[in-house]
Symmetry: C2
Subunit: 220 residues, 2 copies
Amino acid sequence: MIKAEATSTPSKLLDAALVEFAAHGFEAASTRAIAARAGVHQPQINYHFSSKAALWRAAVDHLFAQLAADIAPVVADAGDDRARFASAVRAFVHFAAAHPELNRIMVHEATVDSDRLRWLVDTHVRAAFGFVTNMWRTLRADDAVPAIDDTVVYYLLVGGASLLYVNAAEARLLRPDVDPTDPSLIDAHADALVALLLGPAVARSTAPTTTDRPIPSPRS
Amino acid sequence: MIKAEATSTPSKLLDAALVEFAAHGFEAASTRAIAARAGVHQPQINYHFSSKAALWRAAVDHLFAQLAADIAPVVADAGDDRARFASAVRAFVHFAAAHPELNRIMVHEATVDSDRLRWLVDTHVRAAFGFVTNMWRTLRADDAVPAIDDTVVYYLLVGGASLLYVNAAEARLLRPDVDPTDPSLIDAHADALVALLLGPAVARSTAPTTTDRPIPSPRS
DNA sequence: GTCTATAATTAGATAGAC
DNA sequence: GTCTATCTAATTATAGAC
């Protein structure tokens, strides 16, 4: 199941709203365009949701719930902290590729302070930030990872994981022969990010000690 | 000189336009807000520039010219390819921190195909992309860097270098005690990115063999 | 070159028939 | 619950006095 086909009007509106808000940002996205994409008339938005802002919050809630559903089981799995962190990074890269709307909405909103940004941070982002930074400080205490500040790591990780998919339209213009939705590219991307942050030992979750497609350490 | 105080109306409009376009995106940024920020009246925009779109292009041209002026001398310096690449990465991190407008405008535009995106890519981005990917392939041919695809590296690099500053408003909400404009944080960020991509040997341009603030290799 | 006034368009939200 | 019609406000751009 890649994506269930929405049936009810509210559900169709949520899906359409995500695409439009992600593409254009809150202000520039029009309720008429959202309604047209959903195949309904514009006043339906105010009927099923009380306002454009309420639709935006509902759409963002829906998306973060999907992220939590994807990440939670991976993190709950057994294994040491390094392996769990590596699995979480890989799952996040795959989510960023499958749902570029999430990080598109984040960068549209996070460039300037606003009520929407405060709501985003308090409702959804702070918990994710805490998970990453707490985990990283734990790993650093064991000398299991490079000595990089946890806030810096958070933005290295999120930025490095998401920009290829956030800017997929740009990537297609730069490299028409590369498809940002190609699963093997996404796997290679996730492997690279894990190898850079945690070292090659945990680079492949499915084959922890594999020697195929080795990622050599940078020479020192 | 951090930033010259603009005097002429066109110059004040360019500076104001960068801030507004970066904060809100092209569509959501209003010419009235740009004019108000510049301290002039709104019709001055159409007098000095022919349209909102022409003002946007002029502002973007101005910003990419500053980027080129910052990066070119660093790249022209002597040194082997690894050292030149490391210096370019460091200079880019510092530029992203000093001019967050550049990457904010990029993410606002690159989320969806448009005439503005095509103009951006053809006029400014393709050359930068070519520099990074050509350099990376050269380094890979010498086994001097990890075996990561060059397109993936470009987005890892740009995303990892810029998101902390693009999303500075979010970062301040998450960590009120951390200032994304703090020079020591920016240095640490640049060092970390260089160390991850090129190894700790070239982590500090000013002290290539220093042992203070070591960045240990991830254990394998 | 700068100002006031305004034209033409489009936005989110609402009223009321069905 | 869905439709048409429309209200109010905001947008970019222009006209014309100075």
